[in-house]
């Protein structure tokens, strides 16, 4: 069975069982580095991607579940030369130590700001509640998220 979906704006077709993990397809079939394997149970958020603009944990999504949908990964947001405002905020505020959870933080904040353009710090913290970081970068991450709110507002002008 062929399953079609768009990833970072590009159409792809896969002849794979529909229950194949979306994370495996993104990482191994498409060679994308952004989404990371962390737990396989949706507990940590390292594998986060956007599905039709909404944040999703790719480790618990199947290929079949995203058939015909738009998936965006960290790579699809921006590049080192032209980062997305949320990426820029995390780079400027150094919202990462090892950076393994960074993908999930950026994707989650990006999804939040789409629907909630001006969240306060408490809302940002609640939105990131189920994204784990072991380095303890939480303070820098929250500061980066706050800066992302500003940069996104500027970008919208």
């Amino acid at each position: 069975m062929t399953i079609r979906l768009a990833v970072n704006g590009q159409d792809h077709a896969f002849d794979l069982p529909p229950q194949t993990s979306l994370l495996e397809v993104l990482r191994n079939d498409l060679g994308l580095n952004g989404p990371k394997y962390g737990c396989g149970y949706g507990e940590c958020g390292a594998c986060s991607v956007l599905v039709d603009g909404q944040a999703a944990r790719a480790c618990v999504m199947t290929l079949g579940a995203v058939a015909g949908r738009q998936v965006t990964t960290l790579e699809g947001l921006g590049t080192p030369e032209a980062p997305h405002p949320v990426q820029r905020a995390f780079i400027e505020e150094e919202g990462a130590q090892c950076g393994y959870c960074l993908n999930g933080m950026i994707v989650t904040v990006t999804a939040l700001l789409r629907d909630t353009p001006a969240p306060d710090r408490a809302t940002l913290a609640r939105a990131l509640r189920h994204n784990l970081c072991r380095c303890g970068t939480h303070l820098e991450i929250l500061r980066a998220a706050e800066r992302a709110v500003t940069l996104m507002a500027e970008a919208r002008k």
Binding site: S21, G31, E43, Q87
Partner: protein, 1154 residues
Amino acid sequence: MTALTIWRTGKAGPETLLEIDPAGTVTGFNGHVDLGTGIRTALGQIVAEELDLPPARVRMVLGDTARTPDQGPTIASETIQFAAVPLRAAAAQARAILLALAAARFGCPPGALTLRDGVVTGGAGTADFAALLANQSIRAELDPAARVKTPAEYRTVGRSSPRVDLPGKATGTWTYVHDVRLPGMLHGHVLRPPYAGRDSGPFIGHSLLAVDEASVAHLPGLVAIVRIRDFLAVVAEREGQARTIAEALKVRWALPPELPDLGNIAGTLRDLPATKRMLTDRGDVEAALSRAKVQLARSYSWPWQMHGSIGPSCAVARFEGGRLEIWSGTQNPHMLRGDIARLMEMPEEAIDIHRHEAAGCYGRNCADDVCGDAALLARAVGRPVRVQLTREQEHLWEPKGAAQLMDVRGGLGEDGRFDAYDFETRYPSNRGPNLALLLTGAIAPSPQPSDMGDRTAIPPYRIENLRVAVHDMAPIVRASWFRGVSALPNTFAHESFIDELAAEAGEDPVAFRLRHIDDARTAELIRRTAEEGGWQPRSGPRLHGEGDFAFGQGFAYATYVHGTFPGVAAAQAAWMAEVAVNRRTGEVSLTKVLVGQDSGLMINPDGVRHQLHGNVVQSLSRTLTEAVTFDAISVADQDWGAYPLARFEDLPEVRSVLIERPEEPPLGVGESASVPSAAAIANAIFDATGVRMRELPFTPERVRAALAGAPMPRALAAPPPRRRRFARMAATLAAGIAGGLMAGAVAFPALRAEIPRSAPPAAGLWSAETLARGRQVFAAGDCAACHTAEGGVPLTGGRAIETPFGTVHSTNLTPDPETGLGAWSYPAFARAMREGISRDGHHLYPAFPYTAFARITEDDMQALYAYIQSLPPVRAEVPPGRMIAPVNLRGTMAAWNALFHTATPFTPDPAQGAVWNRGAYLVEGAGHCASCHSPRNALGAERTGAAHLAGGTVGGWTAPALNGTGPGPLAWTEADLYDYLRDGRSNRHGAAAGPMAPVIAALAELPDSDIRAMATYLASLAPAPAAPEPTAETLAATAQEALETATDPAARLFTAACGSCHMPGPLRLASAATVPLAFSSTVHAERPDGLIHAILEGVPATPGGGASMPGFAPALSDARIAEIAGFLRRTLAPGKAEWTGLTETVARARATRH
């Protein structure tokens, strides 16, 4: 090609420290690696400073055995203090060489030249590095005495410099070890022994009894199964295939001996064999104690904790032409190379380790182990292999931060001085031998202690009579260094004890410390931290509070001393912590922290501050939350639910005071700010409540118990022995029931007439319409579900179906003449469908629902026959059933049929409309819903009357009532039923799971009109509601509130394991549950089986797309699933009776799951 190289003679020959290529590009080489702390940036700054370059123009190569110097493992915050020293000298030497070249070129003395931003300016002009090095090929041996800059000359060092790796990491262009992909790469998946997390004892390397390779031979993608003693792995083409194969592979292991009681840290560590090593013994401790005005004896304990890397370890290996290359996330590439050489019996020179960044490790995790795995597999299959450990494997097997016990005695002299201190610490750890070496038997699994329990064991205070000893002991479970190593526990004891003494003396704890400090730098740090933190002097606990809350301040200080005893001091740090303690629930919130730190020269102040913040958050997590739990034989925590970490909502307000000392040498900052954490928090709890916490972690249960004066509960009551992967459920045989059948069995014939074999019908016999109709009947009956074995070829039967009377196997439905239905004429088929009699005349068991199929109309039955005969024939033998006597006498079934079966077709009810009748026909006929959804009597027959469709069980799952008497809080309306049958999900009830999921998938073949008809019929069965039901919105809000406000351990487990999908916040995840758990009948049902099965096995994606839930069977123990189920029951169904015997129910469900 390089133009300038600075090298030194290392352990194994020349080692390059710095290179400048003809284009002027500068590359520094360092044997230490970046563990996510930003050390790459700081090392680049050091090189850039000496060469007067912008930091961005320096490239650093870290930890590559073929290219970088061997500088030992990246541990103990030593990189800046030690590993950077030769690098800095090399850069300074290169500068001198460049200036000499320029001096010759411009004909002026080097002193007349200036170097700025990579350009030398002299009297006659300017030249950059490329120009100066044109046609040069200089190799200079390192001059360790090369003149380096003085702090006054610094332009880059001491200023914050942006992290060089973050633009790549934030955009997905950085290559972590997890992102290394080689051409032709395969995927390995390891299967670890049951002695998870253990590394000594004669069973290590001798526990693998049998591997049934045939059990996975049919699975796609399999390349190899590799077995060396207890090392076992599968290699497959795809990553997911490798995991599927590994999970399906039938393996028998011997069980290891039980562990001692690791919940009782004090008792277990005191009983363990140890070598006592005296670190210092001065004055006369015993005499001083005996004359002490106040004497205290205290014990403090620290639990086993996880490094908890967010990314489970990963490695890629390539074995080609006698050379082995490994891409690794190791902390110590050169040490790892030695281990791999031993494992593979290869010379070290034939092995290259390429170090890539991995998830932060904070010490020794599984990064090295997985390299051994990958190396063995790459050699076995002759292609590159990537091995990615699972979350469960990383949790179970990472060498833990060791538990520790500190027994302390101390006393105050006549003048209130801290006059005597007797300190003993026990640290059961080694340096984490490579797992592959142990599993393959390459090294002996004998207990080996290490000497790392002595870190910061000497207290920083002036105490005249001082005795400090460490008991070196081998680990009980794998243990190795973890950020702060033994210094955290040792300091927890020192800094709690001095607080206790100060309180006994009635003296202010900060003033008391200062009275015993000689070093002026330390005194300044303590004073400034207390001042800036708003320290309130006191002579005892202040016991401030309001309502349920008590508020307190606590202070602690440490100079982290690392390395082999007596060690070297890293940065010193002091904490001022403020807590709020909920006296009712026992919850401790760390509300404010001020950390003062003296790091000497700070290479990158922002980097120092980030390390400090990271230490605060990580150590508050370790202090308040973290403790590894164990079952009888191994580590029990396998996911973030079982081992939760601090979250954003736990963050305190954090301030830092970084004392500027640019003239002093730089000190390591990677760990120091963690070291005072636990004592500062314990001291603050004491100030707030007067209660002294001496055992980590300070969980609400422990604090509550301490407040009540009760004995401290442990982090988690020791769970029962894990049966997870090994137990077999004892079969319970319904002997009495079977006996009941025996009585009637004899009067009925065992066999009916055989219907002769017939030639298969000719292809093209049936019209497309007939086949389409048959296909729908086939779908309505979801024949494929039962007639396809787990992982087997569709429709060829062989699925084991458990019944109370034994196991039957479904038959091959394809028209294969020998093993399937190819030789069945239509009359034989129709008789089987309507009467339960096989072609050869024997009786079928009613696990095959002929009682329902008898209602199928003649037209539909013929179409179904046609469709089945049109399928491609597949030869497949089916194993015989295993029924218990007398049910195994098929003749008994004749008696059963006489009692319970009438083979009459469906007759429409003239009082009802056509839609209703169509629905009834589908539900009661081909759909055979009652097979699962009606309770069965003692003889296994569906009950009728009011019990018809009143709910049953299937494969351990609860099949809820379809007659409107279900337990859920919201009634099933016709619209709900339609949504559920059509999409597999109703917004008011939840999603189809377990055996219902394939039914929904099959129903996709049916037209909307049929789905509506079934909904109409089923909705009509419901009685009128007795009372108005709550609105879905009210129910959802109440449930959410209940989940959010619960504070018990089960609530924390639920939040960590289930929260991202089942606790909606400001962000709605596309992968999250769309229906509140409170709506699900499973939490309201009389029995917990449905909920438990859903947790164990997960919920598949619905056909229309959307989320799926993973099965948590591999991750959560029986006890933890029971905890979650019990929590959901009391929280979401508060009016209903609590479930009992949950852990046993989970064990049973686990044993029967498919």
